[in-house]
């Protein structure tokens, strides 16, 4: 009886030792991985910072202005170019209802035979 207990205890002890060693080994591996990731993260962050700095150098208003003056015909916005939303004109009535299969046919149908061509009717007469 007591031998069996001893055997079990010894087995359990060995198993536990193995288990603890494995945990320790895993933990070391994880810690190394974490350190590596951290280094990588920092390197990435440094690269992001460099790129951001480069971007803001390229995006410098002084530089953009020179480029715009050289290549574009745009001018600074004048106050008269702004308008308020309530002065926006009404949306024009739709020529064809949206759910029709053939919109062009429905436009022709709606105009009572007169084709909407823009030609002045009288101009056709000689």
């Amino acid at each position: 009886m007591i031998r069996l207990v001893h055997l079990i205890v010894v087995c359990a002890f060995v198993a536990a030792a193995v288990y603890v060693y494995k945990i320790k080994y895993d933990a070391t591996a994880q810690a190394e991985r974490a350190a590596k990731l951290r280094t990588e993260l920092k390197r990435e962050r440094d690269r992001v910072a460099t790129l951001r700095a480069e971007w803001s150098k390229l995006d410098d208003p002084a530089r953009i202005q020179v480029l715009a003056e050289r290549h574009l015909i745009l001018r600074p916005t004048a106050a008269t170019q702004f308008d308020t939303l309530d002065r926006l004109p009404e949306r024009p009535p739709q020529a064809a209802p949206p759910d029709v299969g053939d919109p062009i046919a429905s436009i022709i149908e709606n105009t009572d035979g007169e084709p909407p061509t823009g030609t002045v009717p009288g101009a056709r007469e000689p």
Partner: protein, 585 residues
């Protein structure tokens, strides 16, 4: 209960707790039989192991809950040695200053086998290195020499591919300012060790960053970026116009500020000539100082706004009061003239819009010397203004504040203040009467109100807005008008003191503009130092001819950026501003 007593007899031990038995075993070892002893040993072993496992389990829990600080420390220590600084952003998140890692090339001459060959190869990659100097350095028997600080990543690659032994790289943090000179006076600059030595960079160090550096903590990029109130787009528009104006009017210098009158935030601050923050040596040139905070100037007629504001607020003067401006004001041996002489009785409104020196002097005299002084003190014009910028200048006060001082200060001569200070005072006149200390950091309106100090009544402020608008509609600042933005303004032209006398030719032209005048949001200061008359201005060099059109151009450019809605159907000032002010009273 009875069998537990007495505990000393072996026959009673069976009933005792097992640990008590274990202890007794150890005590009475020799007298007991082996089986019992073995059991006791087993018990002891179980106990010991239980304790050990308990400790291990406990440590595991501790590790799981709090991460191990040693690992993080190890990761950091392998990185760049140089200190790092937080990024500085503008109010929209544009990077104004940032740290980048740059490699620097060094050599260990003792380990170099053939100095001639190494220098040949290096020159091929970096032609800007001095050939003889390089060879000399490589041939020396020293342990370590810098060959080139701050090389590009491409050069690093190329040098690496040369495969020369004894060459190496060290990465260092370098502060860069992508916008160059654009924001230099606000940001300042750093020295080789990445320590701030001017501007906001120095202020950052003063806030404890330097101590962090010394302790070695600030080597990571995790520091929170600093967000300024500055708007890079507005800053650029202002600088661009000022550079153009400085050329056009052949001025020595030009400077400008845009500030939010409700919060005291400085949206733009430019003083040209300026310098490139990436090249701090330029900052040593004394002509490149920041004229807005480190220079003090007699601001000229823009100071009349303060004089009239004082008069109206005291109640001793109303908008309709008239003052004699028919003849120059005689005081002792001095004669005070008007530049735009009207030679008649002038109302307070006319004094302001025609910028009458005589009138302003008479208003100040009616208030009295003491009240004048107290009012300027209240508006912060007599004390050094401190902002985040470490550079500031003390105003120059008259040695003895006589009646004559009050007369001249009434129209902006005899008291020199930093322009930023004058901006703060004028902003208080138009924003409803609250003096708000200017700041370069973001600040909400609520925070500003908590800091603000009431200096004049809201009604007086409405009257000042009316007067400034009137000056644009039919006064000296008509060239500052930008259709749609309802600009209010006050011109100022001061004669500069040359060799102790006021010069007729060396002038300081400035203009304070407020947009929109009926409900001000921004105050714009434009200042030209010693502008010259040009054919376009008919030879005049006064503010209305140069600072005013420049301000108009600036406002036309920045108003859309600042989100000010153009309105075109606004009635003239007396109906738009005065009527609404009366309505709220």
């Amino acid at each position: 209960m009875t069998h537990r007593h007495p505990p000393h007899h072996p026959a009673h031990e069976a009933g005792l707790a097992w640990h008590r038995r274990a202890i007794q075993m150890l005590l009475y070892g020799r007298n007991v039989d082996r089986a019992r002893k073995a059991r006791a040993r087993l018990g002891l072993a179980v106990l010991t192991f239980a304790v050990i496992y308990g400790v291990i389990a406990g440590r595991l829990v501790v590790y799981a809950v709090s991460s191990d600080p040693h690992i993080a420390r190890r990761a950091v220590s392998g990185d760049a040695v140089a200190t790092s600084r937080p990024d500085i952003l503008d109010r929209n998140g544009e990077v104004l200053a940032s740290d980048i890692l740059t490699p620097s090339l060094f050599a260990e001459p003792r380990r170099i086998i053939d100095a001639d060959e190494a220098s040949e190869l290096l020159i091929a990659v970096m032609p800007d290195l001095d050939h003889s100097d390089l060879r000399e350095r490589l041939a020396s028997r020293r342990g370590f020499v810098w060959l080139k600080r701050e090389i590009s990543a491409k050069q690093q690659q190329e040098v690496h591919h040369l495969g020369v032994p004894g060459l190496g790289f060290l990465t260092e943090n370098k502060r860069i300012y992508p916008n160059g000179a654009e924001v230099s006076h606000v940001l300042g600059h750093v020295n080789v060790d990445n320590r701030g030595i001017a501007g906001l960079e120095k202020w950052l160090d003063g806030r404890g960053l330097a101590d962090l550096h010394q302790a070695g903590f600030a080597s990571d990029r995790d520091q929170q970026p600093i967000s300024l109130a500055l708007d890079l787009r507005v800053q650029h528009a202002m600088r661009d116009e000022l550079l153009a104006a400085r050329d056009k009017y052949k001025a020595v210098a030009a400077a400008g500020i845009v500030t939010d009158v409700r919060t005291g935030e400085i949206i733009a601050m430019v003083s040209v000539p300026d310098y490139d923050s990436n090249n701090p040596r330029e900052a040593l040139d004394p002509t490149r100082i920041n004229r807005l905070t480190t220079g003090v100037y007699e601001m000229g007629s823009t100071f009349k706004a303060l004089t009239i504001g004082m008069g109206l607020d005291s109640g001793k003067v109303t908008l309709g009061s008239t003052f004699d401006a028919r003849v120059p004001l005689r005081f002792g041996k001095f004669n005070i003239h008007d530049f735009h002489a009207q030679n008649r009785m002038l109302s307070v409104a006319e004094i302001f819009t025609y910028s009458s020196n005589i009138g302003a002097a008479r208003v100040a005299l009616r208030a009295g010397v003491e009240e004048h002084k107290a009012f300027l003190k209240k508006l912060g014009q007599l004390d050094r203004l401190r902002t985040e910028l470490p550079e500031s200048a003390e105003p120059i006060l008259p040695k003895r504040w006589s009646e004559l001082s009050t007369i001249t200060i009434a129209f902006g001569h005899g008291l020199s203040v930093a322009p930023l200070q004058a901006v703060m005072g004028t902003a208080a006149l138009v924003n409803g009467g609250l003096l708000i200390p200017p700041t370069f950091m973001k600040r909400s309106e609520a925070e500003a109100r908590a800091l603000a100090k009431r200096v004049i009544k809201p009604e007086t402020s409405a009257q000042m807005r009316y007067l400034m608008r009137l000056t644009v509609e039919k006064g000296s600042a008509s060239k500052a008008e930008v259709k749609g933005y309802y600009v209010g303004a006050k011109t100022g032209t001061a004669e500069k003191v040359v060799n102790g006398r006021y010069s007729k030719t060396k002038l300081l032209a400035d203009l304070m503009a407020v947009i929109p005048a009926d409900n001000p949001r921004y105050l714009v200061l434009v200042m030209l130092d010693e502008p010259h008359g040009i054919p376009e201005t008919h030879g005049f060099a006064t503010s209305g001819w140069n600072a005013a059109p420049v301000a108009a151009r600036v406002i036309a450019r920045i108003a859309p950026i600042l989100g000010i809605e153009p309105r075109f159907e606004l009635p003239p000032a007396d109906r738009q501003i005065l009527a609404s002010a009366r309505g709220t009273r």
